[in-house]
């Protein structure tokens, strides 16, 4: 099979934090390629370094070592205006939604458009378009506190997609949501991926999410990627203790909520 060129290339990334006197190696020599158009997942237990790794992609975290290459261009040392331009091309959504609570849905989305220099009169039609995409046409003038978790995440997806990014980073985007809402967000993200061609990098510790939408997956443990490959292969034939641990945890929760998950869960792989 022909391999499309990587849209994201992380080369030997290390991220070190200085926590008082202690040095924390959150990410240790990670290299990975994300292919254009795929949904790439990163799984691992809490503290594994998933968020830190993904945040180097839009340079919310600057790697202590290594290079970040986006669409063939080394962006590791970008600053100022060029860095802002890069970030407009990489949307990001979070577990906590991170909307401006004191601004309406429309203004939250307008924020991203303004960041890209979209003139005022062009913002409103674009906001309507985005709200239609995420299924919240009637919520433009509502404040986030009046929305459910799933709706808030939809707004944050609209904000992240406002400037037609090539890449969407999702940090535990469904971890604060119940199963049904999660399903809705996942199918929206899959649609964004298929129809708009947005490459998605998705962090989660929920395997039920992973197996539903990831094309390929990397398993992280204490700052390293210990295993990666097509999702189906990795989960069917786990090589590492962590991966087995994650699967075990998933199976336990599967047994508990068994009735809620049907046979079709194997479909995404």
């Amino acid at each position: 099979m022909e391999q499309p060129a990587p849209i994201i290339e992380l080369r030997d990334i290390c991220v070190r934090f200085q926590d008082g006197k202690r040095t924390v190696d959150a990410v240790k020599h990670v290299s990975l390629n994300v292919r254009k158009g795929e949904i790439f997942g990163i799984v691992g237990f809490s503290g594994a370094g998933k968020s830190t790794l993904v945040r180097t992609i839009n340079l919310l975290e600057r790697p202590s070592e290594g290079r970040v290459i986006i669409s063939g261009r080394d962006v590791t040392d970008l600053r100022g205006k060029q860095l802002r331009e890069l970030r407009r091309d990489i949307g990001m959504i979070f577990q906590g939604f991170n909307l401006i609570g004191n601004a309406t849905v429309a203004r939250n989305i307008a924020f991203a458009l303004k960041a890209a220099g979209v003139p005022k009169q062009a913002r409103e039609p674009r906001i309507r378009e985005l709200l239609a995409l995420v299924g919240l046409e009637d919520k433009a003038d509502v404040y986030p506190s009046q929305l459910s978790g799933g709706q808030k995440q939809r707004v944050s997806i609209a904000r992240a997609l406002a400037n037609n990014p090539q890449i969407l980073l999702c940090d535990e985007a469904t971890s604060a949501l119940d199963l049904e809402t999660t399903e809705g967000i996942l199918s929206l993200l899959r649609r964004v991926n298929r129809e708009l061609g947005v490459t998605v990098v998705f962090i989660t510790h929920q395997l039920e999410v992973a197996q539903r939408i990831f094309d390929r997956v990397a398993v992280m443990e204490s700052g390293r990627i210990v295993e990666h490959g097509p999702t189906f292969d990795v989960f069917r034939n786990p090589q590492e203790t962590v991966t087995r641990g994650l699967i075990e945890q998933f199976l336990l929760s599967y047994r508990n909520v068994g009735a809620l998950l049907s046979e079709e869960t194997g479909e995404a792989a």
């Binding site: 839009n58 919310l60 860095l83 802002r84 331009e85 890069l86 970030r87 407009r88 990489i90 949307g91 990001m92 979070f94 906590g96 991170n98 909307l99 401006i100 609570g101 004191n102 601004a103 203004r107 924020f111 991203a112 303004k114 960041a115 890209a116 404040y143 986030p144 506190s145 944050s156 904000r159 992240a160 406002a162 400037n163 980073l169």
Partner: protein
Amino acid sequence: MNWQSTLEILQDNLGKALADTFFMVSIATVVGVVFGTLLAIALFLTQHHLFSPNAAVNNVVGFVVNAIRSMPFLILLVVLIPLIQLIIGDPYTPLGGAIALSIAAIPFFARIAENSFTEVDSGLIEAAIATGAPTRQILCDAIFPQALPSFIRGIVLTVISLLGYSAMVGTIGAGGIGDMAIQFGYNRYETGVLIAIVVLLVVLVQVIQWVGDLIARAVIH
């Protein structure tokens, strides 16, 4: 206690005293909020790792702010008198009082505003940065609206503190209701005047607090 003379004194002096107090407190509030906010922005941006971390600038600004704040207002006032004299001539006027109050108000409000900025959820700030927005937009359209309720409470706190300080300015003869309390209530044993002013201050503070809370609540969504 002589009700007749108390009433007369109040009638003759209270209006002017209130006007002077209002003049001093409002000038100091405006100056304090404007310049304090600017200092707060400098402090906030230079300590935040995603904006412009700069320990040197942060320490210098922080030191100046703390230095002024650590001085009891009465001592600051005494230190400022020659300076005010240099600027406007007679420091023992409402304008002189307003200048002294303003200088106290700036660092006072700077810390309050800095606090209300740092209280803003860091996730929100990251999300804003991730959109590629410039710092100015992040400040004006994300951080500031989010900090607004606590910012307004900070203004109320500042106004109330300044009202207290303005009474101290009165003790050196710069006018206002503090001045009036000293002149009549203390120097001339007019206890009635003193009581009236105390009651007035209590009511004033309550009203300011009440209005401030109303506004702060109105801007939360």
